[in-house]
Homo-oligomer: 153 residues x 2
């Protein structure tokens, strides 16, 4: 069971990194989780940044992977539905399950076009560091729901 998170730029805020490590450790006994950081583009135009980062992101994705892109206009799922969705994809015979989190300027159209699913975690806008933590927590929660384990605080 392989889950890969591809994200643009490193997590710079130490406090967020600690929480990311915390959840990664909780998740690791259950799935083979890998996190890939794409180098942030240093060109100085918004569209170019998104395209350059997008190209690098797409190189990490194989044809048979199931790609979930975090997008504010994506679909909202509650945690139960997200757990069912995740189980369904895990059992779906795909390559890897890939979550993509964009950088400060968002994602290129090409990345969104490759997505098999656009997921929104909230109507609210969060920093991309926060989204990383939220996603990991929901993956962990989803796994616990799948396994019927207690975890509700």
């Amino acid at each position: 069971m392989k889950i890969k998170i591809i994200q643009v730029d490193k997590t710079k805020t130490r406090e967020f990194q600690s929480l990311i490590d915390y959840y990664s450790k909780l998740i690791s006994p259950f799935v083979d989780l890998s996190v890939i950081n794409i180098k942030k583009s240093d060109v100085n135009e918004r569209e170019k940044i998104k395209n350059e980062e997008g190209e690098k992101l797409l190189k990490q994705i194989n044809e048979n992977d199931f790609v979930i892109v975090l997008d504010e206009n994506g679909k909202n799922l509650n945690s139960i539905k997200f757990s069912e969705f995740l189980r369904n994809k895990i059992e779906g015979g795909f390559g890897e399950i890939i979550f993509v989190i964009g950088g400060a300027f968002g994602l290129s159209e090409n990345v969104k076009k490759r997505a098999n699913f656009l997921l929104s975690c909230s109507e609210m806008t969060f920093t991309h560091e926060m989204i990383r933590v939220i996603l990991l927590e929901q993956i962990y929660r989803g796994l616990m729901i799948m396994k019927g384990r207690k975890y509700h605080y």
Copy 2:
């Protein structure tokens, strides 16, 4: 400008506490922020726990305070709307603006009845520690939007 967060139980996960401190520090130049931890009830029945914690919570609230209760069935606001909402309440001549976050078993009906507004941050369920961080980040984001400051990563 006074904002008070009343929550049940201490934040036990060190990594969450670090992030809470991080955002509290960012917010503190702009508002007088206080966080009150209500002691978790140690009775062993769900309804009794909620009622006992609820009574303690209500003691912290004055008649002219504006009370926003975090509730999964509350209203979802995007960050722009949340900022407008917050500005409106700050300028509304209320006592304090109070956010209430329940414990592991949720909040009593009496607390929900006292609420002036029920707010939901997501369709997803988060730990109550995560909700604390999300709320603080959205308060900070809301303040930055109000002040026309740049903050979008």
